[in-house]
């Protein structure tokens, strides 16, 4: 294991985060805070009666909002981290270095996930300042946060490797992940939907992630059993890991 290489890449990526602190941390925090103001404060009173919300709509949307930021930021950070060297040509060094794909992934995905987890915790703290709520299962809350950050960073890494241009990097987060999140129960319990949409929602993987995370907070009712949520998270993680192993084994889209 080339530990020095992992440390070097991780440090390099974290420096990039610090250098671009404004766009990497501040802007997601501000936009999430706006959601809290609009949905949590302004509309909370009329939403309180919604079944499955648990009487506190402001607290109900906290897990969903954190997850939403986690998805898009993990994908964006990891995809950009590997796409950019490809784009400017500095990837040559990574390819000529004595590092294996496992080490490259640990470093890049680790750095992207670290940033996402930190961001998630910052948003959580911001939300807590705005409204009171408890975290019923703190261990699972952190565990879900970490595994989701890792999975989506890995997913983002794959997108970054496969993308040939900046538009493609934007495509999946903007056109797939964000809509699925809005339809994934970030702002409402699945059970208030008509039966047909409830059924369709069962095919949306995001539902399982948000539901599991909400369970760890203990607000409202979970849409699906927490065990199923966990299985989904690990399953998604395993799929991403397999794809990324194949990419490196074949050199697809990296080597010529």
């Amino acid at each position: 294991m080339n530990v020095h290489a992992i440390a070097a890449i991780y440090k390099f990526e974290m420096n990039r985060t610090l250098r671009t602190l404004w766009q990497s941390v501040v802007s997601p925090v501000i936009s999430t805070s706006l959601y809290f103001v609009v949905f949590g404060a302004a509309m909370a009173a009329s939403m309180r009666q919604m079944p499955g919300v648990g009487g506190n709509y402001g607290a109900f949307i906290v897990p969903g909002l954190i997850m939403m930021t986690l998805f898009t930021q993990s994908i964006f950070n990891a995809s950009f981290a590997i796409f950019f060297p490809k784009f400017i040509g500095t990837i040559y060094e990574l390819l000529s270095a004595p590092v294996s794909f496992v080490e490259i992934i640990i470093a890049y995905v680790g750095a992207a996930a670290t940033k996402s987890v930190a961001l998630g915790l910052i948003i959580l703290a911001t939300a807590r300042l705005m409204m009171p709520f408890n975290i019923e299962h703190p261990f699972w809350m952190i565990a879900f946060l970490v595994i989701t950050a890792l999975s989506f960073s890995l997913f983002g890494f794959i997108i970054g490797v496969l993308s040939a241009g900046f538009e493609e990097i934007q495509f999946i987060p903007m056109l797939i992940v964000t809509p699925l999140t809005f339809l994934g129960g970030a702002f409402y319990p699945i059970k208030i939907l008509p039966p047909i949409w409830q059924l369709i929602s069962k095919f949306n993987p995001i539902v399982y992630l948000i539901s599991g995370y909400r369970w760890s907070f203990g607000v409202g009712e979970a849409d699906v059993p927490v065990g199923l949520s966990l299985a989904f998270m690990f399953g998604f993680f395993a799929i991403c890991l397999t794809v990324v192993a194949w990419i490196f084994k074949t050199g697809y889209r990296i080597k010529v």
Partner: protein, 308 residues
């Protein structure tokens, strides 16, 4: 002579169908400076790319210090430093941070003293805190060299290192290369500046259309192919080469005003001055004379030119 890099039957055909390397065999000797010359698209960068791990070979094997570049990639790549042709650099990072990063990437523990030494030898020390985007092209090239040297490689690939670099920087770089060679580092360089290869290299390889068409010690190559000529500008026109000069077999050109004599590389070194003395004896006046040696550049052009 110990062989450090051994290339056997290496081929590369890109997905586009372009065959960049026909079967190539090459042995690089430990501690030498090998210059690879060849026109654009000859396969030099592809060959280097495969040895360094950036390009997947289509077939054939490469061993570095006895290790296979694919099976034992950690061992082989740790020995190699690569300075690419393209000026691919980070923009916002400092010189110090990117060079230190490279050292880590190649599996070496941090060593600020070594990084300092490398930066100083490349006159980058004053720029160590500068963001790379603020540097000139020549300075960026130095940063790439510093990155390649950061992990103390035993083999250094320089892919057109002096392209776009001014004379002063070029001299500095060659000084660094000489010092590296003196410390036992094997250096492989490609260049378009043939006089550079002529000055620096121990051996010269010429590539064309994916093949190494010639590889030879520089001195042997120069001797074998580098013809020396004496050109005499005559004061009066001559109608024909005088009989007394026939032993030299000179050519008469320029409407009988220019006499050109090509020296035999293995012949008498005094032949040219003897010819001039003979002209005096014959009372053939001349206004000027000059000697020239066929440069590596001319040899090279002669080798890769399409037969008319």
């Amino acid at each position: 002579m110990e062989i450090i890099v051994s290339v056997k039957g290496l081929t590369k055909t890109y997905a586009s169908g372009v065959q960049a390397l026909k079967p190539v065999d090459l042995e690089i000797r430990k501690g030498e400076i090998l210059a690879l010359l060849g026109p654009n698209g000859a396969g030099k960068t592809t060959l280097i790319g495969i040895i360094c791990g950036i390009v997947n070979p289509s077939s054939g094997t490469v061993t570095v210090d006895g290790h296979d570049i694919i099976r034992d990639f950690r061992k082989t790549r740790a020995l190699i430093g690569l300075v690419p042709q393209e000026l691919a650099t980070e923009a916002f990072e400092s010189v110090w941070s990117v060079v230190s990063y490279s050292r880590g990437l190649f599996g070496k523990a941090p060593n600020p003293a070594h990084i300092e030494k490398v930066l100083k030898s490349l006159s980058l020390w004053d720029k160590r805190t500068a963001k790379i985007m603020t540097l000139s092209g020549g300075m960026k090239r130095r940063v790439l060299i510093a990155k390649a040297l950061s992990h103390e490689p035993r083999i250094l690939f320089l892919d057109e290192p002096t392209a776009g670099v001014d004379v002063e920087l070029r001299k500095d770089m060659w000084q660094v290369v000489r010092e590296l060679r003196a410390s036992g580092v094997t250096i492989i360089l490609t260049t378009h500046y043939i006089e550079e290869a002529e000055e620096m290299a121990d051996r010269i390889g010429v590539m064309n259309k994916g093949e190494i068409i010639l590889i030879e010690d520089k001195d042997v190559l120069m001797h074998k192919l580098g013809r020396k000529q004496l050109t005499v500008h005559l004061a009066q026109k001559l109608k024909a080469v005088p009989a007394a000069l026939k032993t030299w077999g000179p050519e008469l050109t320029g409407e009988g005003r220019i006499l050109t004599y090509t020296l035999d590389p293995d012949g008498d070194r005094g032949a040219a001055s003897a010819l001039l003395r003979k002209l005096d004896e014959l009372n053939i006046a001349y206004t000027d004379f000059s000697t020239s040696q066929k440069s590596l550049e001319e040899i090279f052009v002669g080798l890769v030119q399409e037969p008319a």
